[in-house]
């Protein structure tokens, strides 16, 4: 409904004034939108703002790297040793004095803002995240820019929404819109960003929200590409033909990826609460200490683990390392990222996850080539699939992981290995690590945010799950009350279904039937006013849809979709409640 219809001014007797009013009215009608349409326009602007912010963020990160680690691809040992440590201490000062909300990856903080403070993220947090994360990643901490970009996008959206004084409902929707734009711009992959936000951030979504998220993600990516170009973060090798025998190797990759994901999650799950439980003064030192250890790893000859590592992923994809080096890099990256993340240094988990996956995939591809040189395709394809494998296993975003590989490679022939490997990885990770990493971090922080994995996998109850079998007594509508009475007189049922040929069954209460008998009414049941039409259900309908009906009617017939007169079962309030009670006991809450 258009808002303009509600503010029509009174007609003016003055013809000039009248014409002016009419003109103003037409212009207003042309220019104005309702809140929903304005929300879509706002989504585009938020996408642009988030895209611009991500461009600035990435450039700042690069400047920081230049000044802190030098311009060489592999920093000098002294810089590698000192830069992450000293910068870590400086970041601690910033977090403890100015930007207390800037610690962490940004993903959980965005979810927390969405579910706890109606999507509101203070601008100070956004600025803090921008500065601290760019310093951390630029100095070589093993973290990525995607999750902070997600939070920066969501924070900007929140700031815009707050200035416009949007309703609480819209404010809550605006944060995911900004988050998708920020992530899309950081990762240069709008589809994956949209799916990730839907899969991991928002709980309920509709077509309208989906449209807004897509618009913002696309405008974010377009804006980013205007400044930084359309090239992906790493060059993707051609996938080529994948032989069926190779699926065995991809399965092995999935299994190894699942195990690596579990090791990574367990390491964080073990170390993070231990560090959080220590006094504040010690926590202040952790980013510096983590930096020192990462510097040691780099000093020992593995500077590739520093920073986001996209350039080294590119090299792994183009077969520039041996399998031993690739395996070593995967292990060391798990260690370095665990240290950086658990120390509370601001920065994301996306890039390290992709790095570990790429190295692991490359290693599996290289080993397979050693033994089966005639079988193996490009090692780059294994590295690409490896990225998806870790994404599925560690971040537990299986749908995003599949689409990410497709979007990044632009080649649908990769779908089969991705599906196989990701399935193995996801199932193994689920089996060995019940609580996903994002949930784990949420618990460490003492928060209770919706568990998206559980929600995705929650079993939907249908009518057939709770209905009782067809009742033994269904009265024939072609008989009189006196003829029906002997069948029901001895029962304790309060009401009965009445079968009417080629129609859904009707209902009659025990009292009405007795009244007809006592009044000597000889009419057929279907001709009397005593029977009432009742709504009916089908076995495949959601139990949620049945709930309003069973609270209003004592008994709801469940009928065949092809023959409405055929009663398959019945349902009442007690049946529905019993079904819900059973489902709760089968799936206990994780907390």
């Amino acid at each position: 409904m258009s808002a303009t219809n509600k503010t029509l001014p009174l007609p003016s007797p003055d013809p000039i004034a009248s014409a002016a009013t009419s003109l103003r009215r037409r212009i207003t009608a042309q220019l104005s939108f309702d809140e929903d349409r304005f929300f879509l326009i706002l989504a585009v602007f938020i996408g642009i703002f988030a895209g611009l912010a991500v461009v600035c963020f990435r450039i700042t990160m690069e400047w920081a790297r230049l000044y802190l680690l030098g311009s060489s691809l592999t920093p000098s040992p002294l810089r590698a040793f000192l830069a992450p440590c000293l910068t870590g201490l400086f970041i601690s000062i910033l977090i403890f004095t100015l930007f207390s909300g800037a610690a962490g990856s940004g993903l959980n903080q965005t979810k927390a803002a969405l579910y706890i403070s109606d999507g509101y993220i203070p601008l100070r947090t956004v600025i803090g995240k921008f500065i601290t994360a760019s310093l951390a990643i630029g100095s070589g901490h093993s973290l990525g820019p995607e999750d902070p970009s997600l939070q920066i996008g969501a924070g900007l959206a929140s700031a815009v929404g707050a200035r416009l004084k949007l309703s609480r409902k819209k404010m809550r929707l605006l944060a995911p819109v900004g988050a998708a734009a920020g992530l899309a711009a950081a990762f240069n992959a709008p589809i994956s960003a949209v799916l990730f936000v839907i899969e991991e951030v928002i709980r309920h979504w509709s077509a309208g929200i989906f449209g807004a998220i897509v618009l913002s993600a696309v405008s974010g990516v377009v804006t980013m590409r205007l400044f930084l170009g359309a090239e992906p973060l790493f060059r993707i090798p051609s996938v080529g033909v994948i032989r069926w025998q190779e699926l065995v190797a991809y399965s092995v990759l999935g299994i190894l990826g699942g195990i690596a994901s579990v090791v990574f999650s367990k390491a964080i799950g073990w170390l993070r609460p231990k560090l959080k439980a220590t006094p504040q003064t010690l926590q202040f030192l952790y980013p510096g200490f983590a930096g020192l250890l990462i510097g040691l790893i780099a000093f020992a000859g593995f500077p590739q683990v520093m920073g986001a590592g996209y350039d080294f992923m590119d090299q792994a994809m183009h077969d520039q390392y041996t399998w031993e080096v690739l395996g070593m890099l995967a292990g060391l990256k798990i260690l370095a990222t665990t240290l950086s993340l658990c120390s509370g240094t601001p920065g994301g988990m996306f890039a390290p996850t992709l790095f570990i996956g790429a190295m692991l995939g490359g290693a599996v591809g290289s080993v397979e080539r050693l033994f089966f040189p005639h079988l193996t395709g490009s090692v780059g394809t294994y590295a690409l699939v490896g990225m998806g494998v870790l994404f599925a296993g560690f971040l537990r975003a299986p749908i995003t992981s599949i689409f990410m590989a497709l979007e990044v490679s632009g080649d649908y022939s990769i779908i089969l290995p991705v599906l196989v490997a990701n399935t193995f990885s996801y199932l193994i990770a689920r089996r060995l690590q019940a609580v996903p990493i994002l949930e784990l971090i949420t618990r460490h922080d003492g928060l209770s945010l919706p568990a998206m994995e559980e929600k995705r996998e929650a079993e939907t109850l249908n009518v057939e799950d709770s209905m009782r079998p067809r009742p033994s007594i269904i009265l024939d509508g072609a008989k009189s009350a006196a003829e029906a009475w002997p069948f029901v007189s001895h029962t304790a049922e309060p009401c009965f279904l009445v079968a009417i040929p080629n129609q859904p069954p009707a209902q009659i209460s025990f009292g009405e039937l007795r009244h007809l008998v006592e009044a000597g009414d000889a009419r057929l049941l279907r001709d009397t006013q005593a029977i009432t039409a009742v709504p009916y259900l089908h076995p495949d309908e959601d139990l949620e849809d049945a709930l309003p009906l069973v609270t209003r009617y004592p008994l709801i017939p469940v009928v065949n979709r092809a023959d409405l007169s055929q009663v398959l079962g019945v349902l009442d309030l007690a049946d529905v409640m019993e079904a819900y009670r059973k489902s709760r006991s089968e799936f206990p809450a994780p907390y």
């Binding site: 104005s32 809140e35 642009i48 703002f49 690069e62 060489s72 090239e231 060059r235 090299q315």
Partner: protein, 380 residues
């Protein structure tokens, strides 16, 4: 809610204008920021690239690889940097890495002539026949930044050499025929092609190309020498003598030309199979050949000191030689003309067996051997 909606009606156009203005200001700031960084990136990229080139010139390809990789960090799309990295990897002997890198460049630009050529060379080194052929063809039909026809021709020459290394003369010859049809008026190129035709044994085409080269530059030594050699191999000793004589008159002629000329002249004088010869001349030439072979055999026997220590091959020739010494005269051969060829074959066998045992042959010895080898098998 109604109040909110009424507010929207009034303020929405204004809000959109404000948002556009903010976007414009934000974009301008971002643009300035990114330009500043781009300038620095380009500067760093060029600096590291120059370092890489210097390292490559100092023959330190491993260091050059790191330098070029750093340059690419700042300008990942720079084709020159990428090509240089691939080249440095090749020079560093990291063939597999270089191959992968070139392949990634090929994916970006499959028509690049230089990328195809380098891939072909690497594939040839790895012994991948079909890949080598494919990439060479990519280089021949690919894009080149400058002097495209020269580069394409050179790629075709490399492909021909690749076939010749594999002893695949039929493919080499077919590519040579294509190449010879598109040559510019350059005696050096015609001579190169002619040399290759000569190498695959296609002497008529080789001679045709030498002739073109000589037409373009009548004093062009390689073509004159090549023509002489090809004619000699084709058994046309008169032409060979004529062109080798011309070649020998050139300043650049070396002892090789003169030796071949002597051999050619000897072959022309010795050849008993010239169809224009009379019977008496044929006999004279065969007897002359026998005398040369006898001298060679005697020299060999003397050199070894004791006939008992002669190699088995030469020792087996002693008895027939003694018999031929009696029979080798004009009257016997006139009576037994079918023995002329037998005598020549014996002389050739002496030269053949002695060539590796009895020191350097004289031009006449060589000519005798050449005549024996050039003799069609059905005549033998």
């Amino acid at each position: 809610m109604n109040v909110l909606r009424r507010d929207f009606v009034v303020r929405e156009p204004l809000l959109v204008v404000i948002l556009v203005l903010i976007a414009v200001v934000f974009s301008t700031v971002t643009h300035a920021y990114s330009r500043a960084y781009d300038r620095r990136r380009n500067q760093l990229g060029q600096q590291w690239y120059a370092d890489g080139v210097a390292e490559l010139q100092k023959d330190r390809p491993d260091t050059a690889v790191e330098r070029f990789r750093t340059a690419l960090l700042y300008d990942p799309r720079n084709w020159t940097y990428r090509l240089s990295l691939a080249e440095a990897l090749t020079q560093a002997g990291r063939t597999k890495q270089a191959m992968n890198y070139y392949e990634s460049l090929w994916q970006v630009n499959p028509k690049s002539g230089i990328v195809n050529l380098n891939l072909a060379r690497l594939a040839a080194r790895s012994g991948e026949f079909s890949e080598t052929e494919r990439y060479y063809n990519g280089a021949i039909f690919g894009d080149w930044a400058e002097n495209a026809s020269d580069h394409r021709r050179e790629a075709l020459f490399e492909l021909i050499h690749f076939y010749l290394q594999r002893k695949d003369t039929s493919n080499a010859e077919s590519q040579l025929i294509i190449l010879s049809g598109n040559l510019p008026e350059d005696p050096a190129l015609h001579t190169r092609v002619a040399d290759l035709f000569s190498q695959v044994g296609d002497y008529p085409r080789a001679l045709e190309q030498y002739r073109r080269a000589i037409q373009l530059d009548p004093k062009y030594f390689p073509a004159l020498f090549g023509f002489g050699k090809a004619s000699f191999r084709a058994g046309d000793y008169r032409s060979a003598e004529a062109y080798l004589s011309r070649a020998a008159r050139e300043d650049s002629a070396g002892p090789e030309v003169r030796y071949l000329l002597d051999v050619t002249q000897a072959a022309a004088a010795l050849n008993p199979f010239d169809r224009s010869l009379r019977e008496a001349d044929k006999i004279q030439r065969t007897l002359h050949a026998f005398r040369i072979a006898s001298a060679r055999l005697e020299a060999c026997t003397k050199a070894s000191g004791n006939p008992a220590t002669l190699p088995a091959a030469l020792a087996s020739l002693q008895e027939p030689w003694k018999r031929w010494k009696i029979d080798a005269n004009p009257s016997y051969l006139s009576r037994q003309p079918d023995r002329i060829e037998s005598l020549f074959d014996f002389s050739a066998a002496v030269e053949k067996h002695s060539q590796s045992l009895c020191g350097p042959p004289t031009p006449e010895d060589t000519a005798l051997l050449v005549l024996a080898n050039a003799r069609p098998s059905d005549e033998k």
